[in-house]
Symmetry: C2
Subunit: 463 residues, 2 copies
């Protein structure tokens, strides 16, 4: 009969030990398919265990399919394979240790001290008190009504956009929304992105294996003529402030694109308005969404740029006929943002805290931008660099007067502890890319670091 030894002080219950022993015997072939096991009572007597211990072990083995019982006949071993040896495991790669630079013009970090953390955490606590167990209920597929209403009111008040909260879909980042849009608009469409442009957008379409065209820009951005020639159905643009060129698409060009969209069935414009909040002069540029008369524009924006990258809340606004389609075909997808953060953001907006925060950020960024531009204009790079400004956004372009290629510049700067990104990095068709134009992402730069960095950068002209 089955004979096993048991460890009384192992912390593992006797039932679990017996279960493991028998399982091991089955997997190693000591017990073979069809073999009859002792009765519970007999095995309990033999091993000096209680019948209930044996019963529990047998039941677990039955549940997992190692043995089976036949009424009035007893317990039998199932036909189970002996496991193969482990295959050699590929070593698991880790993230490469990120090199740190003294001056980093590539990463647009949000200065954490800009964030009204006290207000936000107060609102989080308030949300817990107000909503309590309501926070545990599933939310509507397109987000909690409070947040959609707050967004609609904000857009009405500050962007002059008239939006029904029912047109808004909340998602955990614009990347999640792109996936949904591809499903909504169709995988059989041809999508177009701007070249140069924010590389991630093209990568997402490629990763989803939809047909993708990259459209060259002229000085007014993407043209309807180029779009027509491409055969694209859906175009993804950021007309209020293009990254990295900073182009604000003029009204005539916007009208052209809207006309293009009206010409064919199933044509759409995805208006990615990602940093329109940071315009430093005049009033915000009106959106294409509000100019659109034929339900051809889908508007996208995110709170990751204005609040914090770790706050994963974005939204899109669908024209009514697309929202109806979304509701019938895609509302089975659960909303990807937890209700807790949705309620907190809704309160932050409804109390006017969001607009206050944006205004404060805008002022601080403007000051920082002015300081950075001043340091470049009056520092050791004066006469060697031309600033190409657009009064908006968290970056600007800087053309360097140098015979070095972008790669030579990048390497030489890196040796001096300075990290540079070039306009040419954002071109898919790099032959068309202008050289020596640096994209300055300034939001995380400290003035002292900048001064030291510029001094070292200027050495490149002396070497």
């Amino acid at each position: 009969m089955l004979t096993y030894t048991f460890e009384k002080r192992s912390g593992v219950s006797l039932y679990e030990q017996l279960y493991r022993h028998i399982k091991e015997d089955i997997l190693t072939g000591h017990l073979t398919a069809g073999e009859k096991l002792p009765s519970k009572r007999a095995l309990a007597g033999h091993l000096e265990l209680s019948v209930i211990t044996v019963k529990n072990a047998y039941e677990q083995l039955i549940a997992e399919g190692y043995i089976y019982s036949v009424e009035k006949r007893g317990y039998f071993v199932s036909a189970v394979q002996q496991p193969l040896p482990h295959s050699a495991c590929a070593a698991l790669p880790r993230a490469a240790g990120e090199r740190t630079y003294e001056l980093d013009l590539v990463t647009n970090s949000i200065s954490a001290e800009y964030f009204p953390f006290t207000v936000w955490s107060k609102l989080m606590r308030r949300t817990i008190l107000d909503h309590d167990t309501g926070l545990l209920r599933p939310t509507p597929f397109h987000g909690v009504p409070e947040l959609r209403r707050a967004i609609a009111e904000n857009l009405q008040q500050f962007r002059g956009m008239t939006v029904d909260p029912e047109q808004i879909v909340i998602g955990a980042g614009t990347e999640v929304l792109y996936h949904l849009l591809i499903q909504l608009l169709g995988r059989d469409r041809t999508y177009a992105v701007e070249d140069p442009g924010y590389g991630k957008i093209g990568r997402i379409y490629e990763s989803n294996q939809v047909a993708l065209r990259r459209i060259e820009l002229d000085e007014a951005g993407l043209s309807a003529a180029a779009l027509r020639a491409s055969g694209a159905d859906v175009v993804h643009i950021s007309p209020s402030h293009h990254y990295p060129t900073g182009i604000v698409m003029p009204i005539a060009r916007r009208q052209e694109l809207l006309r293009w969209a009206d010409e064919g069935e199933g044509r759409y414009i995805l208006e990615d308005d990602y940093d329109s909040e940071f315009r430093f002069v005049g009033r915000p540029i009106p959106t294409m969404f509000s100019t659109d008369r034929h339900q051809r524009v889908i508007y996208l924006n995110t709170f990751s740029k204005t609040i914090a990258p770790s706050i994963r809340i974005s939204y899109m606004i669908l024209p009514p006929h697309l929202m109806a389609e979304y509701r019938s075909r895609l509302s089975f997808y659960a909303c990807t943002v937890s209700s807790f953060e949705q309620y907190t953001l809704a309160a932050f907006m409804a109390q006017g805290r969001y607009e206050q925060h944006i205004n404060r950020m805008r002022n601080r960024y403007r000051q920082k931008r002015d300081a950075v531009i001043d340091a470049i204009r009056t520092g050791p790079l004066a006469g060697k660099a031309e600033i190409m400004e657009q009064d908006a956004g968290l970056h600007f372009l800087l053309r360097l007067d140098t015979p070095l290629t972008d790669e030579e510049l990048r390497r030489a700067a890196a040796e001096k502890g300075i990290r540079l990104a070039f306009l040419s990095d954002y071109y898919h068709n790099s032959a068309a890319a202008p050289q020596h134009v640096v994209v300055v992402n300034y939001s995380g730069i400290e003035p002292e670091t900048l001064r030291r960095g510029l001094k070292r950068l200027a050495e490149l002209w002396e070497d």
Copy 2:
């Protein structure tokens, strides 16, 4: 010269009013392309405004592309289209008012009072204090290390799974993870799901337009023979507790499927372990992931079922070679869960609160389940219904002894205020579906409501 009237007390600045007037004139054709505008000084004098007001209005019109300036010559109107009239807007559909039922056996709501809300909110506050502005930094693509470590430790301790935290990818719900998996494994693969099964999974594959096979189950679940015949490369299963049949896949069948996966290049098993925590007898069923020797199993689980549906945190565990591929091809996607909730859950797990919560829930659900089963066995349905139990999960099957079709039953029950779901609802191939089997999702049912509901349901046998 341009002549406009201004509202002094409208709350709209003079600059904004002037901008609107000129824009309107351009859009209505009163000002035409190429027309020269008055100089700032001349217009200011004529309208009795300050020069700076006119300058600001002109600059905004330039920024938006309505006018342009030519050095030393002045300001000119751009070529801009007159807008077309609004197209008739499709009425925006609203959610149909959800019918409420007195007894709802379809929705598995989590009783909110089961959730340790005090602990959770304490941990949220603690997270704010501990991480402070660190909460505003972007997180690694696969989630914060603290949470991945806590998950790995929990799986080691309670499921006997040895997992490197670097193998874990956190996402805002399993639906987000499915999208990533399709991109990782490839759109050219053929995917298989269980029939019957949780309908949403098939819908997601269909919505992503990948080749999909629905595999009929036998009494042990999905078979390798059926899978081979289907030509699928990737199979999505829930072996520890199938919904809605409750089948626990026996070890022999699991081994068969693992062998199937080893036979061909690019074959994978997606093990969806969504409610394995709620097994009421014995120990948890070991996962296929831990039995797998050849890196063929991807493990998925979610906290939405165990904590709350509005907590959007799920994870997947990739075998090392797939994780390496994920890192090189898909790590450009940002993590979809906010760092705040990740840290809170990490602390909840690290302090043992999660396991405590699961144990408490398991006991409460067992009690509720026993009460529900007892009410059915001893109530007015006795003799008219057979309970098909599996000792696990938040649902069980109930076969009704009736000549009515499922649709007739559903309608008749609805008239009595009772909402029923049938096993046949979960079959894609409904011809193969057993009739009269009700899926009882019991977690949200109150005993008194159930007794009243059963009484009314029993009337169907009297009518």
